[in-house]
């Protein structure tokens, strides 16, 4: 289940690091003989205002250590937990988005273990009666539809965080505890072992994260750990149906890390199996810097968490009305939205998928279309220049100075022929962060496209006169010489001419 004692690393790197020189199987070779069986456990912090059992803020990032705490989340003697109803609602919302059943009765349990980041010495979690069961998530990888079962989605509390003077607790000279995060509502999504490759695992996570962000329950931040993933992986010979010994892999804080860690495990386990060895059932940690997993805890040291019903919280009863209300309020999910965009706006599957990756992009797309921009044009802007700027400036469109309205106004100036594409790109780049009304800037700087026919003809004549060689080349049959002349006119207008119109005029004038 959660993450207990992840830092209680056991053993060294010994068995884990493989030398590049060993003459053994590659990933592809292993995958030919073995099938990987992968199941993922995802923990997502819920975007509630307060923590799960007290009134402290659930937004703990950046607070001075231990300032975002109270007697309840510090686990002082005598305090009691009070359930955050919104956390329950968000978990139910997530479970419904993942096609889960919501049993009428569920309860909370204590999961007992000692660790300094766990103030009460037990975590309030859910054991045998979780909030939801039996869901699934469907997605496509390499044209193949994958359906991954969701065993359960349940609710628990997050722990505090530790900092060690040293790499791991055992070797640390000292450790400090910060309980700002302790008690933040944490949803655990347990997936069935239905995934068969690192690519499928990665896509499952991408889709899952997308859904949680869409429905507003999680911010999807892997780096800061508000969306975390553990993986269980085993191998079996192709054609076999039994399950091999599974290894749990932790400490992966990016999609890429998950992909790499699983690839590493497949190779590691495959080689061991090839040598006739057995796989040890254990927990291994991904070490990004080494590109390897290392053994942390073997099964013989596995915790006995001694789950029992939490006596401080009455069992939870969720009425059918409550569940129906949450279901009715579910926003459009990414897959539904992508299908609708294809249907309503004739987008390709690829464009629709790209535009719905982030809810804000899809919102921007629909707003541009509503403002009168043709769908394909809107898609191209968002997926092209805007996406590039968002990436480079690390600022999404809705957070930029220009904003959605500014972008709409800019694109409409192009569509109306007021400015050309290259002017628009320059303006976009300039105004993206600073903001400003594109129409006003165009007017103020005279960036409007030169559409005066007489003026263009005069310029065409002048450029032809200045470039007799190009004129001669074109007339001699060198088609590309035309581009030099078009470029000359564009330069003369500082890019404000419509290149198509200029080309037409030149062809007319150059015609024999």
């Amino acid at each position: 289940m959660a993450h207990a004692g992840a830092a209680l690393a056991r053993g060294g790197y010994g068995d884990a690091v493989m030398t590049a020189t060993s003459a053994v199987s590659t990933l592809d070779q292993v995958m030919e003989r073995y099938e990987a069986v992968i199941g993922l456990e995802v923990h997502g912090q819920l975007l509630t205002q307060s923590k799960m059992f007290c009134g402290c803020s659930a937004d703990y990032i950046g607070s001075p250590p231990n300032s975002n705490t109270c007697p309840v989340c510090l686990g002082l003697p005598g305090v009691l937990p009070v359930m955050n109803r919104v956390a329950v609602e968000y978990t139910v919302r997530s479970a419904l988005a993942l096609n889960c059943e919501i049993p009428e009765h569920s309860k909370f349990d204590r999961k007992n273990y000692f660790y300094p980041d766990l103030p009460k010495g037990y975590q309030i979690s859910q054991w045998d009666m979780p909030l939801s069961l039996n869901g699934h998530l469907t997605f496509t990888v390499d044209g193949e539809e994958v359906r991954c079962g969701i065993t359960r989605v349940h609710l628990e509390e997050d722990t505090g965080t530790l900092q060690h003077a040293g790499d791991i607790l055992q070797q640390a000279r000292s450790s400090v505890v910060d309980l700002n995060r302790a008690g933040v509502p944490l949803m655990e999504i347990v997936g069935e072992p239905d995934l068969r490759s690192p690519a499928q695992a990665r896509e499952y996570l991408v889709r899952l994260r997308q859904i949680l962000v869409y429905i507003g329950v999680n911010d999807g931040n892997l780096e800061q750990g508000s969306f975390r993933c553990d993986a269980n992986i085993s191998l079996r010979k192709r054609g076999e149906t039994g399950l091999g010994v599974k290894v749990e892999v932790k400490n992966m804080n990016s999609f890429r890390a998950v992909h790499r860690a699983l690839e590493f495990e497949i190779v590691r386990q495959g080689r061991l199996l090839d040598q006739g060895q057995t796989i040890a059932q254990e927990t291994r940690g991904w070490v990004e810097a080494k590109g390897a997993t290392i053994s942390q805890r073997s099964k013989e040291y596995a915790h006995d968490y001694r789950y029992f019903p939490e006596p401080d919280l009455p069992p939870l009863h969720l009425s059918a009305e409550f569940v129906d209300r949450v279901r009715a309020a579910l926003p459009e999910l990414p897959q539904q939205l992508a299908e609708r965009l294809q249907r309503e706006h004739g987008l390709s599957a690829y464009d629709a998928a790209t535009l719905t990756a982030e809810r804000e992009d899809a919102r921007a797309f629909e707003a541009l279309v509503a403002a009168g921009v043709p769908a394909k044009v809107a898609a191209n802007w968002l997926m092209g220049e805007v996406a590039r700027l968002a990436r480079e400036t690390r600022t999404p469109l809705h957070g930029s100075g220009l904003g959605l309205e500014g972008l709409a106004s800019l694109v409409k100036l192009v569509e109306a022929g007021t400015i050309n594409g290259s002017t628009a790109k320059e303006l976009l780049e300039e105004l993206y962060l600073t903001g400003g009304d594109p129409a006003a800037v165009v007017k103020e700087r005279g960036l409007g496209q030169v559409s005066d026919q007489a003026e263009l003809e005069r310029l065409v004549g002048a450029v032809m006169a200045e470039n007799p060689a190009a004129v001669a080349d074109f007339r001699g049959g060198k088609e590309q010489a035309l581009q030099r002349l078009v470029g000359g006119v564009m330069k003369a207008t500082r890019g404000r001419a419509d290149a198509k119109v200029v080309t037409g005029l030149l062809r007319e004038r150059l015609a024999p």
Binding site: L76, P77, D304
Partner: protein, 490 residues
């Protein structure tokens, strides 16, 4: 010499005969004079002064509106948290722990103007039936200092029995209010589970713990109960139902009531003196117009083992937070594991360790079904048997304890100690209200009569007890030589 009750002291305050500060000072010196019995762990002096001032203002502003507890001195058990006052749960591991918050029951008493004087000794983490498990030493019974006052709320029972304060708060997980009340000859009331908020009570067994008062009259118990009872949003197990008004029910008498006597509670093991006092009490109840009928609670014999699985299981988790990381004792060792082991090894006493180990074992993988799950099933059965009994009777009456106060050191093996609570702990398992009131003496030591009611029928339990008390004089009996100057001179 007056052993002033809450209502008597209240009258004195209203008439202007005494001030809260005077009563507080008298109570404090009375407690100090009890030192040889060791019922007090510490005094709340700064808070006492503040509260006495607050009570005086409340009385001055509106003597009629000030409630019955305004200006009344009291003591509370060392497991209840009050901001700024050390609470150690009778344990070395919490020595020096000063809660930064005030629990709900205490908060309500403070708002009612009651004046805390002292924190009372108790068994470590409320685990025990004799107060001999306190890390700070045992408590003597005011009736005979060589005997135990009962436990775990021994100190709270002793200070009321000795007449130093008119009321105190204790907690009852398996009998920890009723049994010491019985041993010390005072009233001790355990309300329905969920009726008084547990917020601020250092948990022993969360599904069993309940806060309640020790007093020298049932009417006083009703007053304190009224002040502390009621829904608390900070305790999710507290009942949202309104508290039945107690005062008017209290005086209705028991004419026509059917009172059940559980056959299993009158079985062998009762001391002859206890048995005879109880039979006399039963006759008195009949004289007051009640009909006594025998009822059966067949699962009673399983209650003890059920209790000693559930309570230790919960305590094994509840006491895990005592890890030396954030508060209390910290024994510094090189590794985390050694720090845990040494802190908890040195901080907890043998009985606490025994129960943590029992509970850990009962919850362990492979044993859970055989112990914890089975115990929960039996617990349900026990509760259902009580429910069935209450279909034909209004309340149950029986002894509180099979024995009277025993000499210190007399019960050195845990099982014989555990057997002390055999008549009280089924009530906790079922979450029912129960009270112990004095009903006689056996060899010069108090005997307690227990009244048990259906869930949330706290007022009915108090009514039966009050009817009995009004017809008898046992509650006015003071310890012959309490080893103390008691109460206030009159």
């Amino acid at each position: 010499m007056s052993r002033g009750t809450v209502s008597e002291l209240g009258a004195r305050l209203r008439s202007g005969e005494s001030t809260p500060a005077e009563l507080a000072a008298q109570a404090r010196s009375a407690l100090v004079s009890l030192e040889s019995l060791h019922p007090v762990l510490r005094y709340t002096d700064a808070l006492t002064e503040r509260q006495a001032g607050r009570a005086a203002r409340m009385l001055a502003e509106s003597p009629q509106q000030a409630g019955p507890l305004c200006g009344i001195p009291f003591a509370y058990k060392d497991v209840l948290c009050v901001e700024g006052v050390e609470t150690s749960a009778g344990s070395k591991i919490l020595q020096g722990f000063i809660p930064p918050y005030t629990g709900t029951a205490l908060q309500r008493l403070l708002e009612a103007g009651a004046v805390p004087i002292a924190v009372t000794n108790c068994d470590e983490f409320a685990m025990g039936s004799s107060n001999e498990n306190s890390a700070y030493g045992p408590v003597g019974n005011p009736w005979d200092a060589s005997r135990v006052p009962g436990g775990s709320s021994g100190g709270s029972a002793a200070v009321v029995a000795a007449g130093a304060v008119p009321f105190s708060l204790g907690t009852d997980t398996g009998g920890s209010i009723r049994q010491p009340a019985s041993f010390c000859g005072v009233a001790g009331f355990k309300p329905t589970y969920g009726r008084v908020s547990r917020y601020g009570l250092i948990a022993f067994a969360s599904s069993l713990d309940q806060i309640g008062p020790f007093t020298r009259s049932v009417a006083d118990a009703a007053s304190v109960f009224t002040a502390i009872a009621g829904y608390d949003p900070r305790d999710s197990t507290s009942s949202p139902l309104p508290v039945e008004p107690v005062a008017e029910q209290l005086v209705r008498g028991i004419q026509g009531m059917r009172l059940g006597v559980p056959r299993e509670y009158m079985a062998e093991g009762l001391e002859p003196g206890v048995l005879s006092a109880i039979h006399t009490a039963f006759a008195q109840l009949e004289k007051l117009g009640a009909t006594l009928v025998e009822v059966s609670l067949p699962s009673t014999e399983a209650a003890l083992s059920t209790y000693y699985i559930i309570a230790p299981a919960e305590c094994s988790a509840n006491l895990a937070r005592m890890d030396g990381v954030r508060f209390g004792l910290h024994v510094d060792r090189k590794s985390l594991t050694d720090t845990y082991l040494e802190t908890r090894g040195q901080g907890f006493g043998p009985e606490v360790k025994r129960r943590i180990m029992l509970g850990t074992y009962a919850l362990s993988s492979g044993y859970y079904d055989a112990y914890y799950r089975q115990a929960q099933k039996v617990r349900t059965l026990i509760a259902e048997e009580f429910d069935r009994a209450f279909e034909s009777v209004d309340a149950l009456v029986c002894p509180t304890s099979p024995i009277v106060a025993f000499p210190k050191g007399d019960k050195s093996d845990p099982l014989s100690m555990y057997l002390c609570d055999v008549l009280t702990l089924p009530v906790n398992l079922a979450g029912l209200p129960g009270i112990s009131i004095p009903c006689g003496l056996s060899e010069g030591l108090p005997v307690g009569l227990q009244v048990i009611g259906p869930r949330l029928k706290d007022a009915r339990v108090l009514r039966v007890a009050n009817a009995y008390e009004q017809a008898t004089a046992w509650h006015t009996q003071a310890p012959p030589s309490p080893g103390a100057v008691t109460g206030t001179p009159s």
